[in-house]
Amino acid sequence: MSCLSIQNLHASIGDQPILQGLSLEIPKGEVHAIMGKNGSGKSTLAKIMAGHPAYTVTSGDVLLDGESILGLEPDERSRRGLFLAFQYPMEIPGVSIANFIRAALQARLPEGEEFEAVEYYGRLYKKMDSLLIDRKFTSRSVNDGFSGGEKKRCEILQMAMLEPKYAVLDETDSGLDIDALRIVSEGVNAMRGKDRGMVVITHYQRLLEYIVPDRVHVMVAGQIVMSGDKDLALRLESEGYDWAEDLRNSK
């Protein structure tokens, strides 16, 4: 039961079907990679799991530790332990990173419980140091005027502070130079553990050299067409996505 389970999920935006019977199981303690080329529906899958209002789930289910989360508001899904590192993190002008993460943590406190500010800043600074984020960033507005790399590091910082049960990292490697990629990957690897499941969405094998997955899944046209171990990523890199697509068509 300790897993994030996607069961025969169909979803669409308007009349356009995006997911067409996608099934996937991510047990706690494992890191799964979803690979696929642009337009295969990878990022959409992440948004649908998180409850983005633009998409409609037409059938199937998403269970978090055995309980369906499809009927829940996005914030409730988050509080249940689902985290999404965005491919394009949004800018929130005037809201400092420190206040933003604080609000997110406060939302998780039971009614009437006081927030411990001193302990919070101690923890925040520690995580920032490990991600090589300047402490001055606490007072900067969320993602406002950040470089691509800064945005991605800020996403990992939020993940580290919120300690989700399951994390979905959507194209976290996009827009990163090699140094930033290493820092971000180390941040993600530090979060790996038996109490956490992770999904890494990417279309380059490169990221998976740093974050080595337990399983690799190939997504084509809203379905998982192939699953394997980390070597599948290498095969995909050399053969190309057409190979996976041909394989699906020949089925």
Partner: protein, 470 residues
Amino acid sequence: MSTEPSKQIEIDRNIGDFRYDVKYDYDAGVGLTEATIDYICDVKKDPDWIREFRKEGLKKFLAKPMPTHWATPDLNNIVFDNIRYYLSQGQQAKRSWDEVPEAMKQTFERLGIPEQERKFLAGVEAQFDSEAAYSNIQASVAEQGVIFMGSTEALHKRPDIFRKWFGKVIPSGDNKFSALNSAVFSGGSFIYVPPGVKVKHPLQAYFRINAESFGQFERTLIIADEGSELMYMEGCTAPKFETATIHSAVVELVAMPGAKIQYVTVQNWSNNVFNLVTKRGLAHEEAEIKWIDCNIGSRLTMKYPGVVMKGRKARGEVISIALAGDGQHQDTGAKMIHAADETTSNIVSKSISLGSGRATYRGMVAVPRHLKNCKNNTECDALLINSHSRTDTYPAITVRGQGNACQHEASVSQISEEQIFYMQQRGISEAAAMSLAVNGFVNDLVREFPMEYSVELKRLIDLEMEGSVG
């Protein structure tokens, strides 16, 4: 995610929504005639020149048309004949809270005024309907020669300074409502800061309307003599009534050469109050006048704080936050009149419109041809929360001559669905996310307020946003 118009923001003004029954010893009755003015003059023992000034004001008020050719027709809903123009229990403000009549004392205690006074204020005046119930200044500040008293009191005790400046910055006929105020004014603060004196802590006035169908017409006059500095803060509340109430103040500031005045307002009237206020400052050479103005309450506010920069290198500034909730119209802005070389002005205005709320910015900047090296910067940003929220911007900028510079930036934005989704994905509820984004929008301006006020402001914004979304 959808922002349903039907579930609009519940405007929470519970903080001020209570009233005590008060027996008024002085009541001018309903309606406005010359007899009303004679009654007020007799009760207040006004000198003859004030009686004349009032009657002149009344004539101008009656002669001037309602400014609906540019302002909202909602003004026509004010029934001047149904309003009581003077209500009090006496004209003498008390120096100690213990002497303040019980109901009034309880009112101000509930609003936290005595507590604030103990904590961080150099002096407090608390006005209840037409007159100040309490007025006091710290002994150490008074010893420096600072005068802080009700304008009624000042008129009698310090006619030397009062008469020199009264009605000079804002003539009674400036507009229909300044004329109305000139006719029936009562209460408000009088402050004089002697040369070189820098008042460390703010002086504060609190205006409370307690009676229904009542008009409050305070008159404030602040004179900061050469090189002096002062911060003045005002707050206001009223209970929710069925009928419309009017608040129409006139505030005149005079900053002598090198003086600095900061005037901070947090306006949180209940949403039956027509708030029609004229505020203007006169800045002499190298003086600085800064209006920090926040409008959250009222049914309709029309207020355009101004600075006339009369001396070389004078500076004027207006920092303004307006929040227009359902059924509210915040029609605010600034007037910057450059009347000397090297004068600079700055206007930063941010408004938020929720539900059917409407925020209007009107800004007048005037730099005549003969002046040199004047600068103005104007920024006005509007945030619309719902699809039927409304904002309008009417800048009137006239900059003539060589070597004068002016910069104007305006923006209208909305909080996007993607921003809300992003915040929700972190576990923050939709309403809290809205609140966070709105607070973020005004954050840089909120920081301009004194700390005690900025905390209160954030709390008020959170209250306004609560329940704002489906």
